[in-house]
Point group: D2
Chain length 370, copies 4
Amino acid sequence: MNQITQHTIQVGELANGQALTIPVFSVGDRDSGPHVYIQANMHGAEVQGNAVIYALLEKLKSARLAGSVTLVPYANPIGCNQKSGEFTLGRFDPITGENWNRLYHDHSHLLAEFVTRYKHESEATIRSEFKKLLVEQTEALLSGPQHQLKTGKRIALHLQHLAHQADFVLDLHTGPISAKHLYCPEYAQESAKYFDIPHTLLIPNEFDGAMDEACFCPWWQLSDELAAQGRELSTLVEAFTVELGSQEHIDLAEAEHDADSILSYLTHKEVVLESAYQPQPITRYACYLKDYVAVYAPMGGMVDYQAPLGGHVKTGDSLATVLRMDKYCEGAALQTVTFAQEGIAILHFASASVNQGTELYKLFTNYFEL
Amino acid sequence: MNQITQHTIQVGELANGQALTIPVFSVGDRDSGPHVYIQANMHGAEVQGNAVIYALLEKLKSARLAGSVTLVPYANPIGCNQKSGEFTLGRFDPITGENWNRLYHDHSHLLAEFVTRYKHESEATIRSEFKKLLVEQTEALLSGPQHQLKTGKRIALHLQHLAHQADFVLDLHTGPISAKHLYCPEYAQESAKYFDIPHTLLIPNEFDGAMDEACFCPWWQLSDELAAQGRELSTLVEAFTVELGSQEHIDLAEAEHDADSILSYLTHKEVVLESAYQPQPITRYACYLKDYVAVYAPMGGMVDYQAPLGGHVKTGDSLATVLRMDKYCEGAALQTVTFAQEGIAILHFASASVNQGTELYKLFTNYFEL
Amino acid sequence: MNQITQHTIQVGELANGQALTIPVFSVGDRDSGPHVYIQANMHGAEVQGNAVIYALLEKLKSARLAGSVTLVPYANPIGCNQKSGEFTLGRFDPITGENWNRLYHDHSHLLAEFVTRYKHESEATIRSEFKKLLVEQTEALLSGPQHQLKTGKRIALHLQHLAHQADFVLDLHTGPISAKHLYCPEYAQESAKYFDIPHTLLIPNEFDGAMDEACFCPWWQLSDELAAQGRELSTLVEAFTVELGSQEHIDLAEAEHDADSILSYLTHKEVVLESAYQPQPITRYACYLKDYVAVYAPMGGMVDYQAPLGGHVKTGDSLATVLRMDKYCEGAALQTVTFAQEGIAILHFASASVNQGTELYKLFTNYFEL
Amino acid sequence: MNQITQHTIQVGELANGQALTIPVFSVGDRDSGPHVYIQANMHGAEVQGNAVIYALLEKLKSARLAGSVTLVPYANPIGCNQKSGEFTLGRFDPITGENWNRLYHDHSHLLAEFVTRYKHESEATIRSEFKKLLVEQTEALLSGPQHQLKTGKRIALHLQHLAHQADFVLDLHTGPISAKHLYCPEYAQESAKYFDIPHTLLIPNEFDGAMDEACFCPWWQLSDELAAQGRELSTLVEAFTVELGSQEHIDLAEAEHDADSILSYLTHKEVVLESAYQPQPITRYACYLKDYVAVYAPMGGMVDYQAPLGGHVKTGDSLATVLRMDKYCEGAALQTVTFAQEGIAILHFASASVNQGTELYKLFTNYFEL
């Protein structure tokens, strides 16, 4: 049995002095083998990842580990506890509107100097030195003048500090009402086949503030920079955002499947050895991020969502019917929203009530089998 | 074909001068037969009633009507449009916290004088004069000094003004995540059998500010008062709150069934004649309001709701499992919430995230077959 | 120097397991002399009371005390930290809409039995036994089945448990934008003269869920009940809600004045001895709660509040001008809200933007000098 | 007397079908002289601009106009009416968190082709053709597929469509609690002297989504692009964000001064002729945007803001004292936040309650006299 240890980090303080803390679980030997970082619930309503971390811990207890895993549930103690009515208003800072998952730090300015210095070193040295650099730079930001750190940035940096220590990073999210899908950097496309997730978004090397990007962009840029200088080096770190389904929902049974899917990936990466965790024989579809299309409500109204999630939509199919009682006597109470392409419906808005311009659906287009 | 007409009433104004309006639909002959009032969406997130009103209008077009029906969707133009994150924060006034469905006016102070004056009159006279009195008194409040009317009261009075003109009143709501159920005044228990709703709450003659109570309490008090003076008169008006299922959800197909259920009741009341609408042969359970029990979360945490809605819970059954990752290393990550009685689970909280003391479930206890 | 001690009580738990705690400060000897309970910030935005408690602690250090004082800042750890935009949304539970200061428990059902048993006992015995009863009954509610306690009730009961141990209770609040005023039970009118607060509301013996009422109603009822049985006993406990001014505001200098005002009352009550704290020679006005009039916005719009707080308004005076740009071309861009009585403007709404029916102003009418 | 006309534009629809409309006022002759566009209240709580538009309309009635002015109060009908508690939650879309003033469209991709085509044309042609292009391109976005337009973008484009027709654009905002200040593009520094605003922020040619940037960036880029090709052309359009003071506040008297200040600028620009509107002889300070420094709360707590707005802060001065009652017995209840530079305090946070990392103050540093 592997031992699981728990400690707590403080990532902020509220107005009455209450400390904002996050529990951190560790398993395995940090001194040998690759290191994995898994966090959940950065967006307050996206809670299922906590249940997946519970299931992972239970399974990791008895796994044969060739490395180590750090697991962080409840990653955002503000978002987690921000209620507005019955639901959790945890997607953005309630004071500033900033998306909690767009505040990670961009370390790309470190690359030029690092490459100059280490371009002729071994892969092992580059891996360990660049990791060290990212971790130290994050520490420096955290220990700098406190009056320069805004709330969400401080939380993000604390998490990023843990994540930069890892070779494999999984940020567990959910959509609003959503099919399972995976955000995967283009270079790691092969890895997507080891998750039991039927839909993969392939994302480019562009930093937009999210945890996965914060973790893979520097390493991807490092490969690119080295390649430009004639040194071939694969991208040494992989990072994914795993979208587990719908928000505001805990399903302990489904969490077991999701844990198995993650353990299948970690088995492939030889963090878990001699395990029975294998990818399921499902068809996996992918599309590029530029082909991930949002359909905004062309009118305000109340929506009967009709395109099933994960379902393949044909050109001209109806996505939704919008009820507009004010137009009843004009004979226009029911209005249809159609889709003008082929696509796969991945997620839809969480509420039936939409303003004109609310994001109704997001769909894969120009998709292909992985 | 019956003709459906539409007009608009103004029930308030916003800060930029925007008028708050509500569409009002009418069908049938107001001069003959009973009058029915049906409204929906007083709570902003409880939208399915709008779809039921749509389905009712479609079916009423071709019904044989012995009376008339007024239908009001989008009854609360503030609640309807109050977003906070993806969800609709429409249960209470966002400024004051007042539940929109607790602001109707109590006309009980009118009874003593009315009874003195009309106690020897015919049922028809009593019905028409008391209706007239309620309508006029509501008008008087609306046309009194505007600086004495708060926002929610003005909306409520406009709706109450329409409702007091009716003999049968249906206020269409939903629970958070909920089985269908009906709030029915105790004296109208027989009528509950004509709705296709398996669960009925029998409520006493106590005014707590809701629309159904505002409509039936005065008439129930009238019967009681007359009885006390030796005159037997059945309660002449019936009013119900119909809980259609879960909030934030539009299902046009289900709305057809709910419309049929309402038409079955209206057929029984001979508002709709020679119709095929019949109550379905289902088992109907009822309990008294005092036996409708709330279970509050005994600890904070993230909840996997396990008792199925409409399901019968035995003493000691688990209602929910609460995930508490912070207690993982104590072996207390999963905690069970059990129920110490027999009951029927009617609704549960809309989100998996709960504070200690959040209402988790509501259940019928001491229930019986209707 | 008196020693100040601090301990912490837990009053709830959030979804991520975070404990909701409140700091409790104590000074003086609990075994001799009267006991005082002072709390602040039950409503999240009403923070100035915390500064007053700070100033009180500083001054109590060197006071000569004949009794003891318990002081509780940050009384509501949810309300305190509930942000929505820049402001604190702390007046009501964000999930249920319930006003945090309407959830205290009504112990009036205990009276009949108590009076029967103790009506012939000494004042000292009645005081100590009734206190004991209230404290024990509150403990019983707190230690009963946890699934019967909703979030706000649990917080309220923990505070009430502390408050019932006291002879003098002060609940520190603020208005939105407000002049200082005092809620004072009618029987304690003389005590109002010892506070440096120019406006006093005299409130009747009616329990509506607030802390002050929870503390004085049982004792007032006790006096009434004993009087009905021929025993004269003054009301042994006094409780006030002290409205310190405007919300969302900390003013450390003003807090010193408010602390002096409270110490003047405590000197009068001989909790503080040989002190220099004396009531200031100001004119004090009072009105009965029934004469405390709200003026709701007769139209939506944006408001230039013109009646100064604490200012005396004459019949027909303008309270506010409402801007309505949509009516500019009708010549109706500026609309005046007048007051049809004499009054003293006590508070107005916190924002310039109002819906039709928003509470604009509250005013004393039929006021008199204390 | 100049005639003022009013029309209404629709910029969206809510869930119940309610149209979102904005009133548009026009004065002067569009066929001769420069055109001015002034809008207010894009952020819901920033209402004073509406009063300034009222005052401007009153004054423009009797002004001698050499051009025309379009004035748009209540520019954001969602933000305007979004209440959360007593305050207006109007800085960002409550559904998405997007800042309403970061959604304007960037037209910079149009430049290359335009410059190629028009670089040898007259200034008048360039002005009229580029204006036409910007207006047409905005129209094209508005009339394109409705399912591609999100809520805030649609509102922004409607306003931008009006603004691109103007030579001078003023977007009226306020800070939270704030001194008056002006956002001014670096090239228009001279114009800042004609406003009665003591603090000017000089902003670079970088588009970040705001209205002022949307209006001046294309013209500034046009000058730059033409200069690169050897053609000297001053930047033909000026656009400013005018910060009128504090939010949630209407002051009709102060609005007169602000209207005078704007008319002084318009007199300088010869839109208003022979007027008495002159800039006041005040000292005007400026700093570059890069020197506009935010101070985030180094700890959570409740803040007594001490640096006066508009006041000059010396190195080491205290900005604020933070109350932390939980640290009272450690002797750390009061903590001071100092500033390590010279600066001018421009604005501070609207509430006394702050989390660690909340923006406390913003200050000019490296400021200079204009």
